[in-house]
């Protein structure tokens, strides 16, 4: 309940200086009196709705009610919080709209083919799959050491809350699951790295963007390694190691938030080595996407834009251009994958 409002408050401050609540604006707006007033109102609305949501949720949890009203209060609390964040966002956008600016019509690009080498190199990409292979080998070699019933899901405290009965399917099923997850992550990682549009190619902004892209890609690659180790060895993990994995997972999540805050969207908050480009009477760069193609500032639809991945306007990272048919293939693939993982998990999970 605290995470999403916190992320919403951070996100509003981490977007590029010339993108404010998903509109292209003058970079000076955010620091101006009007911009600060918009941020203040947004923050107040998010915090207020979150507190009400939290109160409802806590009433449901600790109110000693029967299950039905308790669940209703818990869900109601979450709904109030979510609705409050949406209302805060919509209100902020309404206030920023009059300050919309026409983005620069200038474009620049480095005339160099994109690297064909995958992110992290071939060895770096193969690493998670080698770990999974090693895990499968260890499971086969230590088959007798695997208990008749072993944990395959843990809560945030590292306590097992999902079990599987020992069989070839369940033991090696986790390795298969891990392989599928790492494969999809790898495809997304490399597809994004090769398909994102660079907004700045030269100067300080270009350098920052390169570092941001590199950092984000390496973090996703790190996540692949984590998943590979977890899924590759989970039937034989001793409890203390499970606790280590849980802590590592939480630290990774915290690290992602820290890196996002430190870099900002597109790396605009990073310090650079190259001198800044001289300022002047230049229009805000924008993010090379027209304001009118962003639905509610969150969903990008532009069939005239060849890019599949574009920078998010509210958030860190990239989103799909749903005007491009390839985006629908990718979305369909992700949904199919999610369904497949869910089915596989249910087949493995037996209490």
């Amino acid at each position: 309940m605290a995470v999403f409002p916190g992320l919403a408050l951070l996100t509003a401050r981490l977007t590029r200086p010339d993108i404010f609540f998903s509109f292209t604006v003058e970079p000076s707006l955010r620091q101006s009196a009007a911009g600060r007033a918009v941020l203040r109102q947004f923050s107040r609305m998010v915090i207020f709705s979150s507190l009400i949501g939290l109160a409802l949720t806590l009433s449901g949890v600790f109110g000693g009610l029967t299950p039905a009203p308790a669940v209703a209060l818990i869900l109601g609390g979450a709904a109030v919080e979510f609705a409050g964040m949406l209302a805060a966002y919509a209100t902020a956008r309404r206030r920023v709209r009059p300050y919309k600016a026409e983005p620069s019509r200038q474009r620049e690009v480095v005339v160099k083919p994109r690297p064909t080498r995958p992110v992290g190199g071939w060895l770096g990409q193969a690493g998670p799959f080698l770990i999974l292979g090693l895990g499968a080998l260890c499971l086969w070699w230590r088959w007798d050491a695997i208990p008749g019933r072993f944990p395959i899901h843990w809560d945030l405290y590292g306590r097992p809350n999902g079990w599987a009965i020992k069989s070839g399917r369940s033991v090696f099923g986790s390795v298969l699951l891990g392989t599928l997850i790492c494969l999809v992550l790898s495809l997304l990682l490399n597809g994004t790295a090769r398909g994102v549009r660079r907004i700045h190619s030269s100067g300080l902004d270009g350098e920052r963007e390169s570092r941001f892209l590199r950092t984000m890609m390496l973090m996703v690659l790190g996540l692949e390694y984590y998943m590979a180790a977890m899924f590759g060895f989970c039937p034989i993990l001793p409890p203390w190691l499970v606790a280590v994995f849980v802590v590592a997972g939480l630290l990774m999540g915290a690290a992602i938030v820290v890196v996002a805050c430190w870099s900002g969207q597109g790396g605009w908050r990073l310090r650079g080595q190259t001198p800044a480009s001289p300022g002047g009477d230049q229009a805000p760069a924008g993010d090379r996407t027209p304001d009118e193609c962003w639905k509610w500032g969150l969903i990008y639809y532009n069939s005239a834009d060849p890019a599949v991945w574009v920078e998010k306007r509210f958030g860190i990272g990239w989103t799909l251009n749903f005007g491009n048919p390839r985006a629908w293939f990718i979305t369909g693939g992700i949904l199919l994958f999610a369904a497949g993982v869910s089915v596989l998990s249910i087949l493995l999970l037996q209490k």
Binding site: V109, V111, P113, R198, S201, S202
Partner: protein, 142 residues
């Protein structure tokens, strides 16, 4: 990950979508300037049509047309799914009419710059610097 090359090593192409000059023409002119300036050695590869179109935010056909024009001028070799490769262009010799046309265009460009507020001496300095750069550019691309 690939180390970030120095800014001076990176050939940058710039276009203005708000300019009355068609985008494909701007791409052709910018790429030609880079090619003449020796930014690419023969055998060097340019981004694919798709990559360039994505980064510029323009239609694939616009970039494809620009590449086709440069291939027609003898600068590039185009292969499907392999992008464009810079080739060794046979030496060209412009006739007197062509040279006169070029001088006229240069005169018009300088006049426009001065009319737009660029200092006359600055224009002369820029043209001299450009001429010096061209003298030192790689001969094999001419």
């Amino acid at each position: 990950m690939h180390p970030m090359p120095k800014q001076s090593e990176m050939p940058i192409l710039r276009i203005d979508l708000g300019s009355p000059t068609p985008v494909y023409r701007q791409i052709v002119d910018s790429l030609r300037a880079l090619l003449v300036g020796g930014a690419f050695a023969p055998g060097g590869r340019l981004p694919t049509v798709r990559e360039m179109a994505i980064d510029l935010g323009v239609n694939h056909n616009t970039v494809a047309e620009a590449y086709r024009l440069l291939a027609g001028e003898g600068w590039l070799e185009l292969k499907r799914h392999h992008g464009a490769t810079v080739i060794r262009r046979p030496a060209q010799r412009a006739g007197p009419a062509r040279q006169e046309d070029f001088v006229q265009r240069l005169r018009e460009l300088a006049a426009r710059a001065i009319a737009d507020g660029v200092d006359q001496e600055e224009v002369a300095k820029l043209l001299s610097a450009l001429a010096e750069n061209l003298k030192h550019s790689r001969k094999e691309t001419l």
